[in-house]
Structures are given as structure tokens and as C-alpha cells.
Symmetry: C2
Subunit: 137 residues, 2 copies
């Protein structure tokens, strides 16, 4: 598998902090302190829809979604996890995995379209990224 032609969409880059590169996906933390929120971006050029991935890479993405769910549960206890691949604004294939609390700013609605992001303080963001990296086996 070769991700040499992969370039992260600049809008995704602007809204996130890098956590790690897993086998298939770049793992990003959404820079929105309202919701513990990871984004997985398969490092392949030209992907838009989930089924643009071949079946082996789809299975790998599924495995990484499971890992992201487990990581979020450890770092940010939650009432529900939301998983979604929308791509209406940014077409590059990416999967949101979001830890939701019944007390959060958008509950029980979706996080997408729920108003402006509230960026983390830099030190808080770095600490959180460190927590994810420390558990990102």
C-alpha cells in the first residue's frame, strides 16, 4: 500500500491537530473543545465515498474506527459514540468518530452544523493529543 500521493485536504488540516498515522488512516483531533472528536482520513489519493476503498482497505478502516471508538471511551467517557462519513463540504473521504454526552452543546442533534467550533487552548490541545498518542497502540 502506497500513500505517497496522499495530501490532506487543507480545510481538514486547518480544523484539526495531528494525532498519528495508523496503518491506513491519518488520525486527527478536531479542534473543537465542545466535543472529543477524532477524524480518520485513509491515506490514499482520490477517495470520496466509503466504497471507493477496496474491500481489504475497507476492513482496515473498520478496524481503525473500532480503535478510535475505544480510544475515545478511554480518554473521554461518553454516553454515545457517533460515527459518520458525510463529505458534503470536504469531499476527501474522512470518517468522524465523536464522543457525545447528553450534556454537550449539540445533544441530541448531530455535531455537524451545530455552530462554530470552540478551539482548544493550545496547552489543552497538546495534552489531549498526547493522551491519544500514548494509547495509540
Amino acid at each position: 500500500m502506497n500513500g505517497a500521493d496522499f495530501t490532506l485536504d487543507p480545510r481538514l488540516a486547518a480544523d484539526t491537530a495531528l494525532v498519528a498515522d495508523w496503518a491506513l488512516s491519518r488520525v486527527l483531533l478536531m479542534d473543537d473543545a465542545r466535543f472529543p472528536w477524532l477524524i480518520l482520513v485513509p491515506r490514499r489519493a482520490g477517495l470520496v465515498e466509503l466504497d471507493d476503498l477496496g474491500s481489504l482497505e475497507q476492513a482496515q478502516l473498520l478496524d481503525e474506527i473500532n480503535r478510535a471508538m475505544a480510544l475515545l471511551r478511554e480518554v473521554a467517557p461518553c454516553d454515545k459514540l457517533n460515527v459518520g462519513a458525510l463529505g458534503n463540504s470536504v469531499r476527501q473521504l474522512h470518517v468522524h468518530v465523536v464522543a457525545r454526552r447528553e450534556s454537550d452543546a449539540a445533544w441530541s442533534g448531530p455535531v455537524w452544523g451545530s455552530g462554530a467550533a470552540m478551539r482548544y487552548e493550545a496547552s489543552t490541545r497538546e495534552a489531549l493529543v498526547g493522551q491519544f498518542r500514548g494509547r495509540s497502540w
Copy 2:
């Protein structure tokens, strides 16, 4: 695999029409004429999160998501597909697969939380369910 203890959540039942039972999932058409929208509900009791499914059944669900995406493309040409497992209101595990158009009522936002459903005329709904069933190999 035994789905004998499975019961569809009554809120999902009230908002949808039955398309078919696939190997794992009950396939439902959301009764909202604004968006061509299928919902897959794995027929297992007690599931809430994606990773409540074992790995074999997760792979089966992924296969059925692919099938739902292909079906929607055939029946309702679209600009983007949205796939999501949220469950904030209805906890029973279910996956939304929605055909989006750049001219639709919620574009570029998500369909969830986008206002009241506009129910199909009964004859339109039956015709659409028939189209999905005819292609539901």
C-alpha cells in the same frame, strides 16, 4: 445467527417503511420524501454501538452498507452519499445511508436535525419500496 429476540424500535418502525430483510440487517426506507434514505438495522437484540457487533457481523454490516450505497445510486442519482451511525435519540443500533443532492433541503448540512420529515404519498412510497426490492438481490 439467530435474530429471534430482535424487535425493531417502535420509533424507527413509525418513521419508515420495510424494504427487506438482508442476511444481517432489516432494511428500511425513511418516510421522508426530501431525501432518498435507507436505514440498516442489524437484527440482533441489545446492540447500541457499532462495536457491539462481533467482527464477522461487522464485516457483514459493512457489506450491506456497500449494497445500500449501490442501491441508492441506482434508484436516486445523487451528488454524495452520507453514512452515519448516531443513535442519540434511538439507541438501537442503526446505520443511515442517505443519497444527497446539492439542491436538497438540508445541503450542505446533515439530514439529522434538518427539520420535520415530509412524508411520501402512499403510492409514491410503495413504488419506491418496490424499486428497492426489485434491486435487492
